[in-house]
Every structure is written in structure tokens, then in C-alpha cells.
């Protein structure tokens, strides 16, 4: 299970050319250490599972390109999106033996996967790596708390606007071309219904708020999944203050 059923490229990793080598987690590693990590580049097609809740943790992975969604299945059997992971996030780290959530490729995804045992050994050998991963996780925790705040207090309109702002920021840092000098073009990695469930809303409410944003001129729809933001500043303002 997990990543096995996926087109795995077993060619030696071209770390030097990797976008993550500088900004990402492995930036701290020497070439020798990098070799010990036994990293393998993998391509995962859209909507395929990278791992599933309950799976044994057999490897961790960096997101090199694309977007990964993390999901949980509730007691009632519904799938809930709990987070989106953009490059150069690190995926699946946990001390436990089993994953507590599933990771699904929301788009075509490029990963850099490390076998669990080797990676944990390396973690102990290379304190800089460990501290960097710790800092990553701490920042992720921070973002998760911000998200919880939004879910607890913001109106549906603010949540939708806020989501677009987050995606725009994620897009800016990962995408090379921001689609135009004045304005950003977003590729939505989720359907309306997934989006709704991530935002803790219904599909209909999301749709209504999208049209509201469009009527206000804050966004334009190129297609259902492609959104142009003329003025991110103005959108950000609407996301937190309105009403």
C-alpha cells in the first residue's frame, strides 16, 4: 500500500538541481549526509493517495511541487480536509507508528521520499536537520492555530476570502510566474465541495460567497477552478475586517 502503487522513479536524485535543496529541509545536509538519507524522487498523479490514515509509517516526504491535501475520516465516515501542503513542506512526520490522517495528491505532485528508519537515524546524527524540522513543525503548528482561529470566529464570507488569500500566498512562494504584475492567478487545488468541507461550510455557501466576491470585483473566474485576483491587498482587507 501507500506509495508503492505509484510511478516511482528510482533514478538517483538530482539534488543539486532541486528547488527544495536551498529553501527546503535538506538544505542543512552535506552531500555525504544526503546520500545516507536514501532519498527517492516520486511522481504522484492527481487524487492518488500518498499514504492513508492507519497505514504504517514507512517513509516521510518533502513536497517538491504540487499540492497535497491531508484528510481525516470522521466517526460518521465523512472525509474532512484538514490541511493543504505546499512546497517545501515536509509530509507525514510523526513519532507514532501509524499515520493519523491520509495524504492525497490534490494536484499532480512531485515528492522527495525518505525511508523512515534511515531518516530517523539521520535526525539523530545531524542536529541541524532535526532542529530545522522542529522549526518547520513549529511554524506549521502556528499556522494551524491561526486556521483554528479563523474557523472559530470568522463569517463564511471571511473564510472564503481568507482561503483565497492563503492560496495566493502559497502560490506566490511556490509558483515562478504570478500570472501578471498587477494581480495573481490561482489554481484552486480543491473542488467546491472539498473547499466547503475544509472551511467548515456547505458547498452552497461557498458558491454564494464566491459570486459575492466576484460581484464586488475582488476576484474573477477564468474557469471554475482558476481564479484571478486583481488586488490581493484589497482581498486581504475584506477577509478579516468586513462585518
Amino acid at each position: 500500500m501507500s506509495i508503492q502503487n505509484v510511478l516511482a522513479e528510482r533514478n538517483s536524485v538530482k539534488c543539486a538541481a532541486c528547488a527544495n535543496r536551498h529553501g527546503g529541509l535538506c538544505g542543512t545536509l552535506s552531500d555525504g549526509q544526503l546520500k545516507k538519507a536514501l532519498a527517492r524522487r516520486r511522481l504522484v498523479p492527481e487524487s492518488l493517495a500518498i499514504f492513508r490514515a492507519g497505514d504504517a509509517v514507512d517513509c516521510y516526504a518533502s513536497v517538491v511541487s504540487g499540492v497535497v491535501k491531508l484528510t481525516k475520516t470522521t466517526a460518521e465516515g465523512e472525509h474532512r480536509v484538514i490541511a493543504l501542503m505546499y512546497p517545501p513542506e515536509f509530509l507525514g512526520y510523526t513519532a507514532a507508528d501509524g499515520h493519523s490522517y491520509s495524504a492525497i495528491a490534490a494536484t499532480k505532485v512531485e515528492l522527495c521520499a525518505y525511508p523512515r528508519a534511515a531518516f530517523r537515524r539521520l535526525l539523530l546524527e545531524c542536529p541541524e536537520l532535526c532542529q530545522r524540522l522542529l522549526d518547520y513543525t513549529a511554524r506549521e503548528l502556528d499556522r494551524c492555530r491561526d486556521w483554528a482561529l479563523i474557523l472559530a470566529n470568522k463569517s463564511s464570507y471571511e473564510r472564503v476570502a481568507g482561503f483565497f488569500v492563503l492560496v495566493a500566498r502559497g502560490a506566490q512562494s511556490s509558483q515562478a510566474a504570478p500570472c501578471g504584475k498587477r494581480g495573481t492567478c490561482l489554481q484552486l487545488p480543491l473542488t467546491r465541495s472539498e473547499l466547503a468541507n475544509y472551511l467548515g461550510l456547505t458547498l452552497e455557501t461557498v458558491s454564494r460567497n464566491i459570486t459575492k466576491l466576484r460581484q464586488k470585483g475582488l476576484i474573477e473566474l477564468r474557469s471554475a477552478r482558476e481564479i484571478f485576483v486583481p488586488d490581493l491587498e484589497r482581498l486581504t482587507l475584506d477577509a478579516s475586517i468586513e462585518r
Copy 2:
């Protein structure tokens, strides 16, 4: 600012007798390493700030006893509770130079504080410590995601019930005496209004749901802030929480 204005006990720490020495973060450290951490025991009276958002990060701390609430101030100037920290949680770790939230003693709190520089140095020297802190943070992240799920999808009734379950679990792991063999006694570390804002509800809704839980016989009020749970299992079921 920060912990300065607090009754600081500068006596050498009695680590051997410390409850956290075994379960907590410092469990991995040898006596020699422990000395290098420059740990200082501190007592913080209820409702005093341990640090505030924006403060320079000058030290980290383990919670030895009591409960700490983490709060953020929104754009509109409202205080929002974002998390509760029970022993043996670790407080304030971040790679950044400034705290992004405030930490307030929700009860009388006993801390074990480590100066920032010394601790970060120790983190690099002692990989086991670093990995343990990483595992702590990863688990905290996990809990935060669960919380976000609850905020996104659960009804007010389930949130209140769910909160009591979480407190009960926190109490069970930290308190020595669970108040009776059949049932748990909770000390609520928050007022109704703080509780409401943590749960993303209003004070009134919280109150109504508490009476509803009482009428159903799932909880009993010893006083407004002291709650007896006769059957945690049944309460957990009503909260529709897994495990």
C-alpha cells in the same frame, strides 16, 4: 514584560523529585546536560502573563503543574484563547525572535524555564532532546488539527461535551487523584466567557449546553468551575469523538 515580574525562585532545581523528569521533555537528559540547561523553577500566580505576543523570546518553559492558556489578539482587538497547555507540555518554542501569541497562567502555575540561547545550544548537542521536542510538537500539531476539525464541523453541544472530555483526559494524565474510581472531577481552568471564545461560541450557548449536559446526567456541577463526570465513556460518546 515576560516572566521578570513574577516570584522567581532561584534555588537550584530539584530535578530528581520533579514530576516531569520522567514523562517530560528533560527525561532524555543526563545530569550533566541538565545542568547546562540552566533550568530555573518559577511560580506564576493565576491570570499573570508568562509572556506576551510580540515579546522577545528569551526563554522556553515546561509546564510542571497548573494550566496555561495561549491567547491571540485579533485585528479587532479581542482576546481569543487558542490553546490550553497541561503538564508536561513545553511552552513557547519557536524559531522566530518574537512570540506570536501570549501565554497566561489560567491557574496557579509551576514552570521550569530554560534560557533561550542555552536551550538551543543544548538542542544541537543532544539529538535525543531535539527529537523528543520534535515529537512533542508533532503531537501538539496533531491535537491542533483535531481541534480545528471540531471547530469546523461539530455542533455547539458536541463542542462543549468534547471540551470536557479533553479536559478530563488532560486532568487524568496530570492529576494524581481522579477524585473517585467511577468518575472524574474537573477543575475548569476558564470562565464561561473564555470557554465560549475558545470554543468559537457565545457565553450563553455554552451555558445552555452545560445545563443540557446536566439534565442528561452526563455531568454534575460541584460549583460553577468544578465539574464531576460520572461516566467519561458516555460523555465521549455524546461528544462524538473517536477513540
